[in-house]
Symmetry: C2
Subunit: 278 residues, 2 copies
């Protein structure tokens, strides 16, 4: 199996402990892991640093910062401070990127343009801290079905436009197949992302219909759904992206299954559907 660039995002086996996730990755011959803040904080940041280092794993990204679309006030200040802490944690873990889920419309608001402008403002505020930490703020465009409650950044073009004022070493984008595969402008925008050096993370998971009753949990392991991973991955490869590729699946049946089996399935899917196109 060719897993040289494969990274297990720990959300794929969400119910497993961090220790278990690290052990399963090592046992499966996976060289990298994508971490989430909550389990890392629960285990302790310093202990987590030691755990992944002793296991010989790279940390491909830390998930997640963002949620800073609210109007000015104490909540916004608190969110920005929390993003600064997240950048520090990412630096401690050796993660090159902090994944940003930017947030939806504030409660009761219909001002999408305003929320989007506040994303730009938040990036400008956070960039000095990102630079100091040596961690890229990686804007993740989320599928448009999450626009109002989770992320007002919906397309790769929009994420690249938001990143444009800043150096690529400080602000980049996350390319996630589930969120972006439908976009007719994807080939052009991926080529642009490559030219601009903006791809901070490539994440693979599949689009499975019918959409789950909780639409957040509609993802599948590559091969279980409608996405052409050969075509998508070839476009990403053509950009020159040379980093780790995370498999990040949110799905109840996956979480309910034996995590060791899921890790094997994800690795096999990567080997079969993604790796040949790198």
């Amino acid at each position: 199996m060719s897993l040289a660039r494969f990274s297990l995002n720990q959300a794929t086996i969400k119910l497993a402990s961090l220790e278990t996730a690290v052990r399963l990755a090592v046992e499966a011959g996976i060289p990298a892991i994508g971490l989430w803040r909550e389990p890392v904080q629960q285990y302790g940041v310093a202990r987590s640093v030691t755990l992944v280092r002793d296991a010989g794993l790279r940390v491909s990204s830390l998930c997640r910062g963002g949620f800073f679309t609210m109007t000015e006030g104490a909540d916004r200040r608190s969110a920005l401070d929390d993003n600064r802490r997240a950048l520090d944690e990412a630096a401690d873990l050796g993660a090159p990127a902090l994944v940003l889920v930017v947030g939806g419309l504030p409660a009761g608001s219909r001002d999408l343009a305003g929320a989007r402008a506040r994303v730009a403002d938040a990036l400008a505020e956070l960039v000095p801290h990102a630079r100091a930490a040596g961690v890229v703020l990686a804007i993740e465009p989320l599928h448009p079905m999450y626009v109002s409650d989770r992320a007002v950044v919906s397309t790769l073009e929009q994420a690249l436009d938001l990143a444009a004022p800043f150096p690529a070493t400080e602000v980049g984008v996350v390319v996630d197949t589930f969120h972006l595969w439908w976009d007719p402008t994807l080939p052009a925008q991926l080529a642009r992302a490559g030219r601009e050096g903006r791809i901070a993370s490539y994440q693979v998971c599949d689009w499975v219909t019918p959409i789950a009753a909780d639409p957040l949990l509609s993802r599948g392991i590559p091969g279980d759904g409608d996405i052409d991973f050969a075509a998508f991955t070839s476009l990403v490869s053509a950009t020159g992206y040379a980093g780790d590729i995370e498999c990040e699946v949110f799905r109840q049946e996956i979480w309910d299954a034996d995590p060791a089996e899921i890790v094997k399935r994800a690795a096999a899917a990567f080997d079969r559907l993604v790796s040949p196109h790198l």
Copy 2:
């Protein structure tokens, strides 16, 4: 109440008969109705023509044609023939436009680009019939969450690109708030649609979260969700669009309610949130 350009799409009161829908529209002072093929066929096309004419209603659109993304073969020929019949029905009813929901990926296929190319081919085949019938083929971009199972046309830009080879009197687009409100390129693409004279229908309904367990039924009456109808409608008005504006809501609670009440609620919402921006 200012309902001069309001049209009741009959799907909003889906469980009511065509006769009831027509009567409720007239009683509410609504001058137009958007029809669906199934109830029209059930009532009889000729009888439906008489019914709406005697009621003094305009027919703003007929829903729907499309579903022609399959590869060549008997099914595709049958789908195209059915679209020709739909164009004839629209002409009989005096509907200026046939709404096209183009279809998703064929079963087992992951070839999104191929399905999209077949939409372009289908339009080219149908245009002579549309011209003869005097009915616009109105491409409806559907929200990207329906890309694999319902419509591989997901953005206004994409719909306009598909329409571009044909005269605007033969191929246009449907602008539906629910499907398009999230799109950061909406202002630019609406302006383009105006310049190119492509808007064949403007439909209003709201985006309500959480997304319904059946995502097709996630729509709400304007005001019940997250969409800024003032901003959206102002952009449409600026294009010069002067046609009817349909309220088309799919939602179980709405269908289960008293249709007379729903018609009143939809008309009041139009009067309050849409009409002032025309």
